[in-house]
Symmetry: C2
Subunit: 186 residues, 2 copies
């Protein structure tokens, strides 16, 4: 971030009065340009005791498998965003959503919010950002070809709950420490 | 948003190729400036069967009561942010956090995430952004002097769960429709 998006002047990187963190600040118009974490909202689409995964047609992780999920947009709810991503990536309409997990990933300033939901009539097909979509159970999931650690962790929790016969809402963190990912859930 | 924060050129507001929404795009360096919802993270601080509220020393809603909460920062987890806000606004250290509710407020592009937690030793005092802090029960809460509808709704759900003897994790939306707020929870 080099220039003020409001007036076009150069920015400095400094701690504003009354703040404790460095921000990009415009010395011309005094605008403080805050940067905050982004929400990734998505679903675990369920049908006939299986779940749907999408094979990514885009970078990063082209060709690997993931749940339908993406950046939440302004002026939508987390559930609207989760439904939109499921339509965009898997042409799947979902019903009966319930919040399954919230994962913070601080080294990339992202928060994942994943909902379980039923696929209406089990209809799904690849959207523009997917090479393929397919239904899996715990034994057929391509565990070694998953796109993101947070999705692998979400699916592990999902099958743990499924075996226990009760779904909870999980919160957790995925923190990078000495190039290792430390996964905590509560 | 008028100028590119990367190269300083003027921006246009257009739908990029392969996208479906208008974005601020730089015609000089092709940077697309996405704008996304922000997370407000905070706590319901509990002690001795009461909860702590803060009287706001800042605008908006100066002089009205709220829970300790604020914008989540980059490179922190939602729980770290909730603990930080509780320290900053109420000089309170909390333990044993559990996720109580997630509310989307699409007309202001915010998502609230509020955790219940115990105040260590019950110690609290006003931070720089609070005129006062105080402990309340359901009957003594200043319901007509609350700063934000989402906080009032959170506290109503809190006391409903408390009367039922079991705390759940709630998700909901607060949507503005014809200048009225429609509150939905699931």
């Amino acid at each position: 971030m080099n220039y003020c998006s409001h007036c076009g002047s150069s920015l400095i990187y400094t701690i504003p009065d009354g703040d404790s963190l460095h921000r990009h600040v415009c010395q011309q118009c005094d605008t403080i340009h805050y940067q905050n974490p982004k929400i990734i909202t998505g679903t675990i689409p369920e049908w006939d005791n299986k779940i749907l995964l999408c094979k990514r047609a885009i970078e990063p992780r082209h060709g690997l498998w993931t749940l339908p999920a993406g950046f939440m947009e302004n002026n939508e709810t987390t559930i609207e965003g989760a439904l939109r991503e499921s339509r965009e990536e898997a042409n799947a309409d979902l019903s009966n959503l319930s919040l399954f997990c919230v994962f913070s990933i601080p080294h990339i300033s992202q928060v994942y919010m994943i909902y379980r939901g039923d696929i209406n009539n089990g209809h799904a097909s690849p959207g523009a950002e997917s090479l393929d979509v397919n239904f899996f159970n715990e034994n057929t999931i391509p565990w070694s070809e998953m796109a993101f650690p947070v999705i692998t962790e979400t699916l592990k929790l999902y099958y743990k709950d499924k075996r226990n016969g009760i779904f909870k809402t999980h919160t957790g963190d995925i923190v990078r420490h000495n190039n290792e990912l430390i996964i905590t859930h509560y």
